[in-house]
Symmetry: C2
Subunit: 314 residues, 2 copies
């Protein structure tokens, strides 16, 4: 079919999209308030920004995990913002522990945080954290395991890759209940690390389809739009107050945007690739409280979040 | 042929790579001191960081161009660092001029800076700047053109897309002399803008092969490794003092790393894609003063630059 691109008004009521058109629904504010579902805040090794928002998110996520040196950043965050460390104790610190400060590791251990060493170099701190989060929620007896042992023995978890081994015992991964993970950091540092984070959005879709993964930066929310149609919902007031531009980015591979409904520039049958430079960037949501996106292969979306207002709003 | 991946020692003398193996040579320090060749410093609309390095680069590039609102950032840079605006006057400011502060535009106009408006929305400020840079060096009579007219008439340049029209008159673009462009900003802001910058590395390879484009961020140098073999040279002392990790990133499309010589982890016949998560990140240069990279399709490389030492070194 012929490709099309139309410019919509800035405000558009999007209604009557039949549920047969989409296999996925994503609720944008869910990132800021993951109600009724399992959820984890994953802190990666970058300075923690947007303190007011961070403090709100902290209390809304069921568990908090620091990937290795991220614990240093959390500690420093408390110092910089003059808040009590006891109010910001993560549930877990995990990684090869080559970047966490020894004194800070000791400090958190004494406060009862599970500091779990995993030495394998065939897996990143990011992946170790993700598997740990899954084990926490879905590995039978994982918590018993932690309680029956102590940190001197690495909680009975094999030092090399015990977390991955426990993860491997979980059955029917595809059918696990939804698990929301919001990652802070991971983008905007060294560029190969940024791209590594983006690869995780793609690979988790295959290996851990129950995980709904978002990255939050100072500028954007970044996540994956899987194929088979996505209905993306947001509160109308939230859109007006907090959302800026967006981009639909073929980072993984050249592909096609089959149809969008509710963007400022809606396209259909639109081939897109980085190599050709044909990319829908500097777009935005026109849809009043939702929009519809259907892509042939998974694509990355970034949704600009106005950092100065979002903490007051959510 | 079978894929391989070997771990090298941290230091490796790479010699005897026959020139028949590579079509391209890239000299890394050239970014910091582009001698004997045409060169332009392109300032994009983000805060100017690493002031000491910026001041050195300023004097080494033949022309300086601000893309629209980048002029605000340059002005602010002078204020913040207590330096004289007269020592940091760009040659050109170009764009649709929707983000430059009116007073700042007026200030630079009065100082004799060419402030050129280009209203077309079918081209970004980045692309307008790139074409302007090419016109400056290679469009016959472009400078005469500027001198025979004044800013009230937009220097006789059609307001909509005059720069693109003049650019279109340049003949034999493929054979123009090399032109080094170092862009500051463009990465680490809104993620769709980051990806837009990356697309430019791919598209310029086709449309303007004479341009050697680099992005400099607070963390990395980012550029493209084109196919047909690249010999990447650097000063041995510079590597030790200033270079950290690197990544070879298949951002545009799944492809294959045919061969590398002189990386910490050298690979051959190695399929790579974002979607599969199989990406050579957190790698580094083992080669004493050079390494060799041969890829099937253009790939993005990032080379970590230690920002605290580089300004003293270059």
């Amino acid at each position: 079919m012929a490709e099309t691109c139309i410019e919509n008004p800035d405000y558009l009521v999007v209604n009557g999209i039949p549920s047969s058109k989409y296999k996925h629904e994503i609720e944008l504010e869910n990132c800021f308030e993951p109600q009724h579902e399992n959820s984890a805040l994953l802190i990666l090794n970058q300075e923690i920004k947007m303190p007011k928002l961070f403090m709100k998110l902290w209390n809304r996520y069921m568990i908090k995990v620091c990937a290795d040196g991220a614990a240093n950043k959390l500690y420093q965050f408390c110092v910089n913002n003059n808040v009590n460390h006891n109010d910001y104790l993560p549930d877990y610190i995990v990684g090869d522990l080559d970047s966490i400060d020894e004194n800070i590791a000791q400090f958190y251990k004494e406060k009862g945080v599970y500091v779990i060493k995993q030495t394998t170099q065939y897996s990143t701190d990011f992946k170790k954290s993700i598997n740990l989060i899954t084990c926490h929620f879905y590995a039978t007896n994982f918590k018993d395991h932690l309680q029956s042992s102590n940190e001197d023995s690495n909680y009975g978890i094999s030092l090399e890759k015990g977390i991955h081994d426990i993860y491997a015992t979980i059955k029917n991964v595809a059918e696990l209940p939804k698990l929301n993970v919001l990652a802070l950091g991971g983008i905007d540092g060294r560029f190969d690390q940024t791209i590594h984070s983006i690869t995780q959005l793609y690979t988790l879709t295959n290996t851990d389809p129950y995980i709904r993964m978002f990255f939050l930066t100072e500028n954007d929310l970044i996540f994956i739009i899987p194929p088979d149609g996505v209905l993306l919902r947001y509160d109308a007031e939230f859109r007006k107050a907090c959302i800026g531009n967006c981009g639909l980015l073929p980072v993984g591979l050249p592909t096609e945007i089959i149809e969008t409904i509710g963007l400022k520039w809606d396209v259909a049958n639109w081939p897109t690739s980085i190599e050709s430079g044909r990319v829908s960037s500097s777009n935005r949501f026109s849809g009043h409280d939702k929009c519809y996106i259907n892509v042939k292969d998974g694509m990355i979306i970034n949704v600009e979040i106005k950092k100065d207002v979002v903490a007051n709003y959510v």
